[in-house]
Amino acid sequence: MEFRRPGVASFGLIAISIGMLAVIACGGSSTTTTSSGTIKVGLLHSLSGTMAISEVSVKDAELLAISEINAKGGVLGKQLVPVIEDGASDWPTFAEKAQKLISTDKVAVVFGGWTSASRKAMLPVFERNKALLYYPVQYEGLESSPYIYYTGATTNQQIIPALDYLKSQGKMKIYLLGSDYVFPRTANKEIKAYAAANGMTILGERYTPLGSTEYGTIVNKLKAAAPDFVFNTLNGDSNVAFFKQLKAAGLTDKTMPTMSVSIAEDEVRGVGVDNLVGHLVAWNYYQTTDNAQNTAFVKAYKAKYGATRVTDDPIEAAYVQVYLWAAEAAKANSVDPEKVKAAAGGIIFNAPEGLVTVNGDNHHVSKTARIGIIGSDGLIKEIWNSGKPIEPDPYLKSYAWAKGLS
């Protein structure tokens, strides 16, 4: 996925996790993967640096899933022992630590990454070592490594449903606004192809450098173009500046509605609820998603990490992917990566976001797309969903209009 502004701050948590890491490292150093009744699993996220706070929440969700699985007897009757490493918001470090987890710690699987850059850095390491990585964040698609499972959304489970929704609402004139790097540019290429095939008009396409904070000109452009909707792929801090300046110019969710794909519950607070109320977002899960699994998940997460913490889409996907791997290993009756891979296809899990099914061919999972509206309490309320899980299609092969994109 993209860079996002770090979430809830908690140096205490980081300290605790470092402490845990030390304890685990000492306690587990003499064991191999499956001896002595335990299985080591690697957690590789940025626990320091600019990405830390987003990724700390994701790591927390994975630890929650591991402790729940252990409480229910573990995997293949063995307890899971997490080995936590810090990617330090630095992509080469991710590759280095991945190698360390695989060859030194001999973990059975690694759950890790957030940015597409970190995933791309780790990909060759996992392919070379024939080891497994589970990656929990929505991303730009057009990738399908045999050794990575992508448990966040690919474009046809987030961006395309968002466009379907806009079309169904008669919003045919779209303005594209994004940060200037690979994710927004790839996404917008797909959006333009979709628009051309569906009779939508793209009134404009604008990019601003990552971290840009001046949106006066963009706001003027938007006003002059008067689109039905702004499709927003801005990232991180820029969202704060954009929405503040949009509101200051007198444009509201009524007069200049936007659809964002990078603003989840964690980000809403940093942008300021006042600036975002009524605007739309597209994800596969919200804290408010209404089912028994989610109620239990939100309760367990808050009980473990504090009532002020929120859950959101990547946090949920991180939690789910541990369960998916556990189910696959149970089915394979082994934690050997090749056997787990062979067993992965068709694994179904009743997740907080609803039923998800692992696709054995492209290593993504089916997910229900959800459009949400940001409420004055900072939470996101679902206003539309795809009704059923959407099969992942990272290369958009099943869409005629997408020919020539990949």
Binding site: R5, P6, G7, V8, A9, S10, F11, T50, A52, I53, D180, R206, Y207, T208, P209, G211, S212, T213, E214, G216, T217, I218, V219, N220, K221, K223, A224, D237, V240, A241, K244, Q245, K247, A248, A249, G250, D266, R269, G270, V271, G272, V273, D274
Partner: protein, 296 residues
């Protein structure tokens, strides 16, 4: 027609923001020749002051929080600047390039400090109701937040002009810049003047931080977004030259707005840099030049 007026206003507003972040630097860099890489963090300190002030005053007093924060931020950022000047920089006045490295280190420390105190996530500063929305005239909306920043800049410039030209202490500051030894022999306590200059420069950065909370994100790295722009304005305007900084900010703001309107944000930025490099080929001393310690 409306769009051109809007765009002209955007350019002027951008200029006012550039000028605001650069004002403090005309003192610390322009007057004192300290390559102050921590300038952005003084801005950040000002922004967090606004956040703290809003927390302390609460919802009832939200309407006065921004003016109160402007005053407090001047003191807070000024005090941090003063501390840095007294403890570190005064030892480095004869080594301007070393100040670059040292102040960069200070900027990293201040960023991490902010992260430890306030957390890495952005915090929210609410715009009081009188700063929300905008003045609508003939189909053009002038956001109150941008008008407010413009007003702050105008007042700040007037105050600085008054200080430098009508107050004895300001004249002493100019005297020290123009010729330190001569100023010292005339009985001016140059060390104390240095400290004051740095306090005022850092304080202005703090005020800029408060104003910027109305437009942008508030996080530990907020200042780094504005640091380069601030240096550009000072360099193009001429070191330590207030009129030069005003003209430079206006030119850069309008140029950026025009180019961005006709191309895109990334390209506009590149073109502005090209224009600056070309300009400095012809006038390396900036728009307005004066013999200063920096140029001797």
């Amino acid at each position: 027609m409306e769009i051109w007026v809007s765009q002209l206003f955007t350019g002027i507003s951008l200029a006012s923001i550039l000028l605001l972040v650069a004002l403090g630097l005309t003192f610390t860099f322009g007057q004192m020749n300290v390559v102050n890489m921590a300038h952005g963090e003084f801005i950040m300190a000002g922004a967090y002051t606004a956040f703290v002030v809003q927390g302390v005053l609460g919802a009832q007093l939200l309407s006065i929080s921004i003016p109160v924060a402007l005053v407090l931020a001047f003191v807070v950022a000024g005090a941090i600047g003063l501390l840095m000047e007294r403890t570190i920089l005064r030892r480095l006045y004869s080594r301007p390039l070393d100040t670059l490295v040292v102040t960069w280190g200070v900027s990293l420390i201040l960023q991490q400090l902010a992260r430890m105190i306030f957390g890495a996530q952005n915090v929210e500063v609410k715009a009081p109701s009188w700063l929300s929305g905008g003045l609508a005239l003939h189909g053009v909306t002038f956001p109150y937040s941008r008008l407010f920043i413009l007003a702050v800049v105008v007042v700040a410039i007037a105050a600085i002009w008054f200080l430098m030209n009508r107050v004895p202490y300001g004249r002493q500051m100019r005297a020290v810049v123009q010729h330190r030894q001569l100023a010292a022999t005339s009985g001016i306590r140059t060390h104390s003047v240095d400290a004051t200059t740095f306090f005022v420069g850092s304080g202005l950065a703090g005020m800029a931080g408060v104003a910027l909370t109305l437009l942008g994100p508030i996080g530990p790295t907020l200042g780094t977004n504005y640091l380069v722009d601030a240096f550009l304005v000072v360099v193009v305007g001429g070191l330590g030259q207030l009129p030069g900084a005003v003209i430079a900010a206006l030119a850069l703001g309008l140029l950026n707005a025009t180019l961005e309107f006709n191309t895109n944000a990334s390209l506009a930025r590149v073109l502005v840099f090209v224009a600056i490099v070309a300009f400095l080929q012809f006038r390396p001393q900036g728009l307005i030049a004066l013999r200063t310690r920096a140029l001797r």
